[in-house]
Structures are given as C-alpha cells and as structure tokens.
C-alpha cells in the first residue's frame, strides 16, 4: 500500500516538474539567444544568481510574509468557520448578516491598509489583518454552504433520537461540512498569500519586518527584474506550501470516509 502511494505521488509530481524544467529551459535559451534589454526580461539563471547573492535578505522577507500569511489564514479559518456556523443556526441571522460578509470580498485593501497602520503597527501585525480580510469570505461561505447541504432526513434522525443542538452540530453538521470547509480553506490559503503581499505594498514595514511585498515594490521601482521574479517565485512557493498544508489536513480528516481523498 505504501509503495503504491509513493508511486502515485511520484506520478503526480513528475509531469509538472518536467513542464517547469522545459519552460524554464526555453525561457533561458530565448534570453541567451535574443539578449533582450535587461530592464525588460532576465534569464532564470540570473534570477537564481541574484537570489543566491541576496539569500539572507530574501529568506528574512519570506519568513516575515510567511508569519503574516499563517496568522491571517489561521484567523480567517477560526473566525470564518465560527461565523459560518453562527449564520447557519438561523435563516434570519443569515439574511441579516450574510450580505455584510460579501463586503469583505469587495473591500479595496489598498484603501483600508493605511488605517490598519494607524490602528495597529506597520509590518507583520497590519499585514496579517490584510491577509485575514482577503481570505475570510471563502471560509464563511463554504462553511455555510457545507452545513446547509446536510440532508434534512439525517438531521431529523438526530432529533428523533433526542440529540441536542450541540450534538447535531458537532456530530453531524460540522463533520458533514468538512469537505466544503476544506474547499474554502484551500481558496483562503492562496488568497492569504495575495492579501499579505498586497498588504505589504501599503502597510509593510521597510526595516526589520520587511516582507516579500516590499521586496517586490523596491525591485519593481529599481528595475531589478531578477529580484522581482525571485520574490514572486517565493510568494508562489509560499502559496503552494499553504495549499499543501490544507491538503494534508484534508487528507487526515477525510481519507477514511470521503470519496475525494480516496486513491483512484
């Protein structure tokens, strides 16, 4: 079983890796061949070289952004699931409050980030809140939809056996909503990275707490394309790591019973 799982994992890993190597190879050859102006395009080898030369700075920036992403995501997971559960408890509550959660999705982060700097401190704390705001909505909406999707006969069966509302929630509704909640968390994991990086554009700190967003702004302003690409690549890695972590959690929670986590 384990050997099969390793084979499956390798089979899933090899195609994207081959595609990445081929694309990077083509990119490198294109730059070596055409020599575009350095302010327009750089080669992958230059990105690696500059990233290695400034590895310490990039590592610190990645760490700062990662801390903000994890805080923001954790907060949106806890608050999002709690709000989803709350809204699912009453149709009236849902009708009254759900439209306001939509505002979260449409709020222009760049406009409120300066306010966050006033209320909190610039850097990780304000940036975490940016990540939280951006990633909250999918968790709320997926939790709500997951709980609402529990077949009513199942709920009635619980009632028939005299289950209290708390038991219905913890033994039926929440476990039943886990696949939907996990889908929301997967979206939120990627959004938290975007929220943190964009938040740093406005609410970032330029000193010790500088994150990948500041590296992106500085590199863009200075025409340092290799650093710009390196920072964007690291932000992508951060996003992949976050989604990967949610996938692991989903597997642990659902592999025994849910069809989505069963091997093919």
């Amino acid at each position: 079983m384990t050997a099969r799982r390793v084979r499956d994992f390798a089979a899933r890993l090899v195609p994207p890796l081959c595609a990445a190597v081929a694309l990077l190879g083509l990119w490198e050859l294109w730059v070596q061949w055409t020599h575009p102006p350095r302010f327009l395009l750089c080669a992958p080898s230059e990105i690696v070289r500059d990233a290695m030369a400034r590895a310490g700075e990039l590592a610190a920036a990645t760490w700062n952004t990662a801390v903000a992403v994890v805080w923001g995501f954790a907060l949106s997971a806890v608050v999002g699931i709690a709000v989803g559960v709350l809204l699912s408890s009453s149709r009236l509550l849902e009708r009254a409050l759900y439209p306001f959660t939509v505002i979260l999705q449409t709020v222009p982060l760049v406009a409120i980030a300066p306010m966050l700097v006033i209320w909190l401190h610039a850097g990780v704390s304000a940036v975490s809140v940016c990540a939280f705001i951006v990633s909250l909505f999918p968790v709320i909406t997926n939790t709500l939809s997951g709980i609402r999707s529990i077949p009513h006969p199942q709920v009635e069966l619980f009632w028939l056996y005299g289950a209290r509302p708390w038991a219905v929630l913890t033994k039926l509704k929440l476990p039943g909503a886990v696949p939907s909640i996990m889908a929301g968390l997967r979206i939120a994991a990627g959004l938290a990275v975007i929220g943190a990086v964009v938040g740093e554009f406005v609410a970032g700190e330029l000193g010790a707490e500088r994150g990948l967003g500041i590296v992106v702004v500085v590199a863009a302003k200075q025409g340092e394309l290799p650093m710009l690409f390196a920072a964007v690549a690291l932000a992508s890695v951060l996003g992949i790591a976050m989604v990967g972590a949610v996938n692991v959690a989903a597997y642990v929670l659902m592999y025994r019973w849910h069809v989505s986590e069963r091997p093919d």
Binding site: F39, G204, R210
Partner: protein
C-alpha cells in the same frame, strides 16, 4: 515537425511586430503632424513658420502640480507651439515608471529622477537627461513642529519620532538608513497622502520641501522641514529624459523642446499665477493659492546655488557625485560613465 515551428515563428513575429508597433509609437507620433492653432505657429521661433507642428508627448511622474509648472506654462503660453511642437502633457501617478516608457519608445519625453536614470542605464535602458528642473533636491522629511525635533538626524536617533513614512525603493531611503540607522524608528510605506502624518504627532514623513508642508498647514498642522540635500544627498530631481535613439533621430525637436521648456520655466518663475489657474483645470489636486505659495517657495530649488548656469543645466561633477554615492550605497553595482547620461542643450 516543421509546421509547428513555422507556426510558432509566425506567432513570435506577430508578437514582435505588435511590440515594435507599441515601441515605435512615440517616434511615429513625433512624425505625425497636427495642426497648430492659429496665431501661434507663425508668430516666431526657429522651427515654427508655416510648417505643421510636430506632436510629442511628455509623461509626468506625478499629478499636475507646481513641480511641473514650467512645462504647463510653456503649453499654456504657446511656447511649445512657437518652437513647432504640439506637446501633450500626460499626468502620472504612483507606480508609473516613466523611464521604461521612454526606454521602450512609448513616449519621447518623460520626467524621472537622476538616480533612476543612472540605474536604468546600467540595465540597458538608453536614457539621456536633458533638463533638470530642480538644481537643489527639494526632497525632505517633515515633522510636527511641536515634536521638538531640530535636525534630520534627530528624526531617526532622538526617540522623539516613533514612525517615519518613506517611499521604499528611492535611493535617498538607503542613504538615510546608512547614515542614521532605522533601529529606533518604525519605517512604514509612504502612501502618497497625509492621512497617517496628520493623525500622529510622533510621525515624520517624506515630502517636497514646498508641497506637502503647505498642505499640512492648510489642514492646521504646523511642521518643521529638513531637506536631505543638507545632509549631502542632492541628486537632480524632476529631470526631463529622452532616449539616445530619439535624440539621435530627432535632434532638432529635442532642442526645440528644451528651449521651450526653459522659456516656460522662466515665465513660471516670473509669474506663476495664470499657469496655476490653468493647472487647476488640468486636474491639479492642490488649491490655486497653495500652488501660488508653492511656486514661490520652490524658486530657490529651481534656480539653484550656481547662478552662472542657465535653467535646467546639469554638471558632470554633480552626476559623478551621485553615481559614486549610489555605488557606495549598493544601489548600482558599478560607476557608469556619467558623461553619456546627460546632454546640456544651451539656449540660443
């Protein structure tokens, strides 16, 4: 096997032709003719006469304000038209990288700052500086007057200031960091407005010595201003750039543009009021009285200390000093040949 390659090549050729079209826009535009309004082209000027005006664009790196007063004066007073040019001044904003627009040929002229120009030249962008509006850099930091801060250094070292808003990526930020250190203050992103600063008396913010302090005063906050030039970092700011190629191919237009620009700045220094009224119609955010006051305050920065030079002229020594400073700060990895970075076009 051949077919896909041919098809791929065709796609690349198509993309390149589109890119070339976009890049060639500025140059092409300059060859297009636009009718000159009656009563202006025929009046005087070296390139005027009965020839149709040559259309060129000037891309600003910020919104219309007295920083660009001379350009608007030249447009408003028909000075560009008298030189045979139909200049469209395009407003910029945060994040607009004007030098890239010039380097790719999207516009023939733009405003940039000297540090950007040196850095971009090392990245294969063939830029040439033509006219420096500010002979002395007006870049400064301002604090609330009642903060008790009396020097630039005190902002970072005294503990009286808790938070400093600076625009990351600008060379003077690194200069300040190296000189004073950022350990005792929280350095935050400059958002391009005064919201944070006005609400926090322990905050310092970057500014142009004659612009934001006036806006702060209008909102009831008295400030003290400390120019970074006094600390030894004094690059040319608001510099007109073009590309080496455009200069080589359109020397006459470039010279005409600089001549009219210089005349515009002379007019603006003499009397900025009518131009400021015009600026207000061009979506300037400052009020007209504030712009009149700013125009007055910016005069010493435009004229500079060197009274022997003419408006907008640049010196090799200043460019070399800046290149050395940027190299020392690690902003550029080599000291370039600065003589190729600028051209002084003298007035006749």
């Amino acid at each position: 096997m051949i077919k896909p390659i041919v098809r791929g090549t065709a796609w690349i050729a198509l993309l390149l032709s589109v890119a070339a079209g976009a890049c060639g826009k500025g140059g092409k535009k300059s060859e297009e003719s636009t009718a000159t309004p009656a009563g202006s082209a025929g009046s005087a000027g070296s390139a005027g006469g009965s020839r149709p005006a040559v259309a060129v664009a000037l891309q600003l790196n910020w919104t219309p304000e007295p920083e660009f007063g001379g350009f608007y004066a030249a447009a408003h007073d028909h000075l560009y038209e008298r030189e045979g040019l139909a200049v469209s001044i395009q407003a910029g904003g945060a994040g607009v990288q004007t030098w890239k627009m010039v380097a790719t040929g999207a516009v023939p002229f733009a405003i940039a700052e000297a540090g950007e120009i040196l850095r971009a030249r090392l990245k294969d962008a063939d830029l040439v500086a033509l006219y420096a509006v500010y002979q002395t850099s007006p870049q400064a930091l301002m604090v609330h007057r009642d903060s008790g801060v009396t020097s630039l250094g005190e902002i970072f070292t005294s503990g009286k200031i808790k938070r400093v808003a600076l625009e990351s990526g600008l060379p003077y930020v690194k200069f300040l960091q190296k000189r004073y250190g950022f350990d005792k203050v929280e350095v935050v992103q400059h958002g391009g407005n005064l919201t944070l600063f006005l609400n926090d008396p322990t905050m310092a913010q970057q500014c142009f010595a004659f612009a934001e302090p006036l806006s702060a005063k209008e909102k009831g906050v008295e400030v003290s201003v400390f120019p970074t030039a006094d600390a030894g970092f004094n690059p040319y700011l608001a510099v007109v750039i073009t590309s080496g190629k455009y200069l080589a191919d359109h020397r006459a237009e470039v010279e005409a543009f600089v001549r009219a620009t210089r005349a515009g700045w002379k007019a603006y220094l003499d009397d900025p009021r009518s131009t400021n009224e015009y600026l207000k119609t061009q979506q300037a955010t400052m009020t007209v009285p504030a712009m009149n006051a700013a125009a007055d305050l910016q005069k010493p920065y435009v004229v500079g200390d060197d009274k022997t030079g003419y408006l907008g002229s640049m010196s090799e020594v200043r460019w070399k000093t800046l290149a050395d400073q940027l190299h020392e700060l690690g902003e550029i990895d080599q000291v370039p040949d600065v003589t190729k970075a600028f051209v002084n076009i003298e007035s006749k």
